[in-house]
Symmetry: C2
Subunit: 319 residues, 2 copies
């Protein structure tokens, strides 16, 4: 019995999830739901998002690939009423409120919502939780070099900006400090390098506007480069990203311990798709145990990422 | 209500666990059980191992600090009849059979056994399981530079050896190959550097005997250094160790991804103690859910390493 999958949203992430699902013989991709008129290179059935109710009992798990900001907060509860759902919600500050809202609904509807299943939040959340539990010091995370979607969006929304992209770059000395547990609050952790296309007469005002966007840029080291439309398009094709989590602590007699987890990918959407699809097994394991509710990766034992039948193999070979 | 802890075994690990438990205000250390006549620097009550039954209902969790080879296979089931237990069993090849045996007993006696809670197996097992689930390639582990207890014991058991210690050292080119997914089976992963104290007339025969011990040394690069008794004692005081797990894989369109988890400690027993004591919360969470049986770290969600009340904090701050 193949697990029947639906994909909601058909941008870079949705396309990567489509291919990842198609490459897995245990899964059957039933349909992709989109609000736009799109076509699949792989002849996957495309449906208008609003028709999702027609697929009740025809799809087991919906994988949500929209943006945290505009889509997931609305679509996740909407779909959770009828399906198990997986998303990669990544607005860190709203995870607790999303969790509470979805947990209530999932228990009511006897479904499972597995949220925040990307690499950060997601894989990095599991790592940080284990690091903090063992080391008792706050773990430190660095991102980049890689494109930040949120920061790029913030730039593109400014008036007179034609196009733009922002690379997050970790500051090497701040990483060294984190490794050596030196707490230099004055030293920022990341540099924000922007490439913007706009008419020359607006360059000065755009640069100062970017640098004053609260939360995203204000108070941080920001470099703004004005470039051609072609250059921005080329830069946006670079999908690589990386990140690292450090934990430095002392054991009971003051002996130093270091944990370090790092990750790099040449395709951020494809890595996120791989991770999201890995959590399909977690949903199936939860379902077998008749567990309902909202879950995040920190609630999922590592063994749940495999089919139950693989458990002896894991104990014999992987442990 | 403090959780009442007993410690079984009072070598380097037992002593580190004693101090780690004493440093945690949520725990009460009731007694240390040993087969030898020992004394605690911290005035902890010392009991003969065979008196453990007197502590039924007076201790919640027994932390087992003996060796996998001589103690844990016997003591873990013996104590599991009356207590919840945590051990750091580390004979990789026997984990599955231990699990099956203890799971049956734990369910019968309505207790919990949490086994293999060191850094490898343990923390590294969780990492390898997640890496394999996402990347689908076998993760590669390197250990060292650090002392291997098993290999040192094997040397010390040879006739005419007065004392000895073995350092495991990863081979740098093999690590590079693993990172770059080059599969060179001819290249060994570790070098085994031995320091042995013995009468000069036996040096040649001891060296050839060491190099022919199956599983431990045979077919691997081994260096044997003959040194003074004082030198061996000094080398044995070096408790530092390190290790790394790599996963290199390609996402669905062939884009390269790298995961790397590394760890270093200046005190191997103290790091193991920190990890073992972290799993006390896991036992308490399992107990609250009325779950019995045998568990390994791959069965424990990261959030179970914290008290249940910390869950909103984890979602708000750590995810």
């Amino acid at each position: 019995m193949k697990t029947r999958i639906g994909i909601v949203g058909y941008g870079n992430l949705g396309k990567a999830v489509e291919q990842t699902v198609l490459s897995n013989p245990k899964l059957r991709l039933v349909a992709i739901f989109s609000r736009r008129l799109v076509k699949s290179k792989f002849n996957t059935k495309i449906e208008q998002y609003d028709n999702f109710l027609d697929y009740k009992n025809k799809i087991d798990i919906m994988i949500l690939c929209g943006s945290s900001k505009n889509d997931l907060e609305l679509q996740t509860p909407e779909l959770l009423e009828f399906f198990d759902v997986i998303n990669s919600f990544d607005t860190h500050s709203k995870i607790l409120s999303e969790y509470k809202k979805l947990d209530k609904l999932a228990n009511l509807k006897k479904h499972r919502a597995l949220i925040c299943t990307g690499w950060d939040p997601g894989l990095f959340s599991v790592i940080r939780t284990m690091f903090l539990a063992i080391g008792k010091n706050n773990p430190v995370t660095f991102w980049g070099k890689g494109v930040s979607m949120g920061h790029s969006d913030a730039i593109r929304k400014l008036p007179f900006v034609d196009d733009g992209v922002q690379f997050t770059i970790p500051i090497q000395n701040a990483m060294l400090n984190a490794k050596n547990q030196i707490d230099d609050k004055a030293l920022p952790k990341h540099e924000r390098v922007c490439f913007v296309c706009a008419d020359g007469k607006y360059h000065k005002s755009i640069e100062s506007k970017i640098k004053s966007i609260p939360n995203y840029f204000k108070g941080q080291p920001v470099k703004v480069n004005f470039v051609s439309a072609e250059k921005v398009i080329k830069l946006k094709q670079n999908m690589s990203h990386r990140g690292v989590v450090f934990e430095t602590f002392k054991s009971v007699n003051g002996f130093k311990c270091n944990f370090e987890f790092k990750l790099s990918t040449k395709s951020n959407p494809e890595l996120t798709a791989s991770i999201m699809c890995t959590y399909i097994n977690a949903i199936l394991n939860l379902k077998n145990l008749k567990l309902c509710g909202c879950f995040t990766p920190i609630d999922i034992p590592a063994s749940f990422l495999f089919e139950k039948t693989k458990y002896p193999f894991l104990l014999k070979t992987i442990c």
